[in-house]
Symmetry: C2
Subunit: 191 residues, 2 copies
Amino acid sequence: MKSTDKRGDIIQAALELIAEKGFHGAPMSEISAKAGVAAGTIYRYFENKEVLINELHQELEKKITEHLQKDYPVSQPLRERFLFLLRELLRYFIKNPLHFRYMEQYFNSPYGISLHRERLLSKHDNHDIVMDIFDQGIEQQIFKELPKAVLFSLAFGSMIILMRDHILGFFTLDDFLIKQVSEACWDAVKR
Amino acid sequence: MKSTDKRGDIIQAALELIAEKGFHGAPMSEISAKAGVAAGTIYRYFENKEVLINELHQELEKKITEHLQKDYPVSQPLRERFLFLLRELLRYFIKNPLHFRYMEQYFNSPYGISLHRERLLSKHDNHDIVMDIFDQGIEQQIFKELPKAVLFSLAFGSMIILMRDHILGFFTLDDFLIKQVSEACWDAVKR
DNA sequence: TTTCCAAGAATGAACGTTCACTCATTTTAA
DNA sequence: TTAAAATGAGTGAACGTTCATTCTTGGAAA
């Protein structure tokens, strides 16, 4: 059974290698080998390694956004929507640890930092489920009186390290623990 | 005025380059150039790059520990000691952003992960100010009923991202904000 | 005090390796 | 038959590290 979706094979191989070994531990030669494709073939689908890295990030982000939008309790109180987001993000990453490891790498690279900067500082109009929650929490004075970026770090900073340590096997985030830590994050941002 | 402490020059150059550009963005050739030393000279003081990276980490950790121990309010209630630690850690890193950036790189590398694993899982007897607080918070039932590693992530995860975003200029952690975010971290772990 | 020299310190060109990327050639498929 | 797709050996740049050579220095000898 030979795959005909070479682009998909390359993306998948890159995801696995980069998530496990980092950008510098994933040479194009290994990516092509893992994808079952010649070295030069990658360059028919991606202009260079940087483009491959960015397109892979975009695909993952799309999948994550889709997961979060599914069953999102639009009309429930802010607290329930906040907890839903944290819980589902944790669940998504627990089910897809490679996606988390990749996003973490990306987040800690120049690519990710400039994207983060854009998101926090520029006023792009396309409303984001996550940003909406923070805007509302501030406006309705449910959250502490702190800059949005600070509230954001308070809530998601913990979550990132928690996911990291779950994947590293320091503890196991089961449904009960997910509930507890989501509520702890809520405690951190709520007034 | 020529420095005679070549080892110190090399360590300092490595700190600056690695903090700014990461392990892979800091070739030995650039480190030696910045230190005002020939390429081969580094190898008189450090067996190889990995050893240099680890010794630099140890020096930074020593400085940070010394800062935290200074004026540590041993006999004050747990809450005050917890807030002291967070506040002083934030202050230290604000004063020494390169140290933070380096520690972050290290933390996100295989070296840092295996060290983290050792610290969390092995029972090394040398009591650490930080670990003591968590042990006591759990024992005295002041903290939420969660694994120590989870409480740890809840408190320090936020802090790491906050520092990162402060250094990236997304907001400015002044004394007032430091107080607010330290208390928010307390809210996250306290019952 | 001056001269000399041995040994440690420092040098930087060179080496082997690895990497991202190219392109002449071959394979595929319509 | 032919154009697009795929191949993989080849290229040059960059890297960590080595080592034959040069420089420095402090004490012994004159």
